[in-house]
Symmetry: C2
Subunit: 330 residues, 2 copies
DNA sequence: CTGTTAGCGCTTTCAG
DNA sequence: CTGAAAGCGCTAACAG
């Protein structure tokens, strides 16, 4: 079927023999309408297969019942989990969550934000690509619309923030590891992601705080490929046993995979600990000891922020340690 | 900073001392404008921090430089991979790809589609939730705008289709398995997803065609949890060795994980084969033998369809077998 | 409860 | 090349 010009409210009004105002009121239910007219309108609309033009509505109302979400990347399972939870919590009050991927690029991120602003979103949720370099974009967003940063934090902006306490997460890891081994004599290594995102930054800082300022550190990105490479480097450097704390489950999966392929024992030789606790990684073999983030609660908290019209505020959730086979309890 | 009413073209025109038409022409570059005026406009716009209101533009132009993507679920790594690739290919020609998750629900899917239609998207890409029950929604979409079904197919609609040949995928699996074992005497089991999506359907049909009409079959959903459960059932039913073909990598990960936890050998006792070949599953231990879909090419093909204004058409890509450790070559 | 009408911000004829 | 003005489809005053 060839796309045909679609019916407008005026068409419906004409067919139903009423005014456009009555059509509008019937269809959006903003005001009482005589039941008889209501029926005529509904029938005419059905007959013409009328679909409300949200662009017209948004232009008039200067809002759009839409919340925009800008993520750095959709292939990171943690981000897709957040996106999925957010869609779900906004579905209920009839708000459409639209997702835009910045594809790891600051320029694309800026484009996504101005696109959403130009579309008159009611609120903007974003996981900033970079801790410093995304500042202009976050600031621009916050100046125009209610903006909530998620997971990653650009300091000094007027936007709200929802995330997990990375410091508490690493504290849980430290507590767990301490109860299993003697942290003073057994080596602990950190495989993280390069500075740039606040979560990477905070996790590294917390490692230094809870374990040791000199904790050996390998920094790459949030990917399984990087996990493999990091493990290869450790082995090449002569490590034969250690506790490897990682910045994300995907990294941990790569680390574990490489170690096992090289004939190392996990957790015998190497304990491995992940971060995030969402996605299929949790179901892999062996199961991961990880820090689980409460993504569902975080999503609900964001909805609450969007609905309230309070001052920008920040909320840190406490994560939870999940014991798996890559680092079992004592 | 409190969100303030943002500047409009009229404001820019006033400040620059020109007409709104000139502002429009300068900013969108649709027509030649005197360089001097151009400069005045650009400066005024910068000074007022002017951002074009895309809603006004879309209302006037009846299009929006936007393509909508409706997926059943963002947590399925295959879908997020497609979403990511699509964002990337549309980024180049300056089209925003906006993603909406139907959260597995037909109602939400319908809402997503009418939302995009109401927003005047230039084209709509959708992975239908259900092979039959999504028909009304796909048809409605196709009647209003250029619509392309992706991965899953609702028969008998006027929408284009881009996907992989599941029959060819299963043929590759059959060829591989036949070269490793005697398919006549060694058991082959299929762990799939319940009918509903065309891909699940086609993969099962192809299993029956290439292997045997009586191939033992367990149907669940596209999740690692289901993979685990299916493996548990197989063991409970007394299976001690088999080749397990699955409908997706996430399922395969769950199957492998459960088997290894129960002390079975993979691929010694059980060979396991996945489908999709994207995401972190490929980096897990042991590595998966799987059927890789050419997601990048598929995304490019969709962009080509959107850009051309031809009749609806369908395109099936050939997948590729990737040998991993869960079912090595002979 | 219903109808008329004025715009939301923008692009695009149409004159000049 | 520039400006005035119409109008995209809708909702919200306002008057009846």
């Amino acid at each position: 079927m060839a796309p045909s010009r679609s019916a407008t409210m005026a068409d419906v009004a004409r067919l139903a023999g009423v005014s456009v105002a009555t059509v509008s009121r019937t269809l959006s239910g903003t005001r009482a309408v005589d039941p008889a007219m209501q029926r005529k309108v509904t029938e005419a609309a059905a007959q013409l297969n009328y679909q409300v033009n949200l662009v017209g509505r948004a232009l008039r109302q200067t809002r759009s019942s839409t919340v925009g979400l800008v993520v750095p990347d959709l292939e990171n399972p943690y981000f897709s989990a957040l996106a999925q939870q957010l869609s779900r919590v906004f579905s209920d009050p009839g708000i459409d969550l639209l997702v835009f991927s910045a594809d790891g690029s600051l320029e694309t991120e800026a484009r996504g934000v101005s696109s959403f602003l130009g579309r008159q979103v009611d609120a903007l949720v974003m996981i900033p690509v970079h801790e410093q370099l995304s500042e202009a974009t976050v600031t621009a967003a916050a100046a125009a619309v209610h903006t909530i940063q998620l997971d990653r934090h650009v300091p000094g902006t007027a936007a709200s923030y929802v995330g997990v306490s990375n410091r508490e997460g690493v504290r849980l890891v430290h507590e767990h590891v301490s109860s299993c081994i003697d942290v003073g004599t057994h080596p602990v290594v950190y495989v993280g992601a390069a500075q740039g995102s606040s979560s990477a930054h905070e996790r590294l800082d917390s490692m230094r705080r809870w374990f040791s300022p000199e904790v050996p550190t390998l920094l790459g990105d949030f990917s399984a490929a990087w996990g493999r490479e990091a493990a290869a480097r450790l082995l090449a450097d002569g490590w034969r046993s250690a506790t490897i704390v990682t910045a994300a489950d995907v990294i941990a999966v790569g680390v574990v995979s490489h170690l096992l392929h090289q004939g190392c024992s996990v957790p015998g030789d190497f304990r491995v600990i992940g971060f995030d606790g969402v996605g299929a990684a949790a179901f892999a073999y062996p199961t991961l000891t990880t820090v689980r983030q409460p993504v569902e609660e975080m999503a609900r908290s964001i909805r609450a922020l969007v609905e309230s019209d309070d001052e920008p505020s920040s909320r840190w959730f406490d994560p939870e340690l999940v014991i798996g086979e890559t680092s079992p309890g004592r």
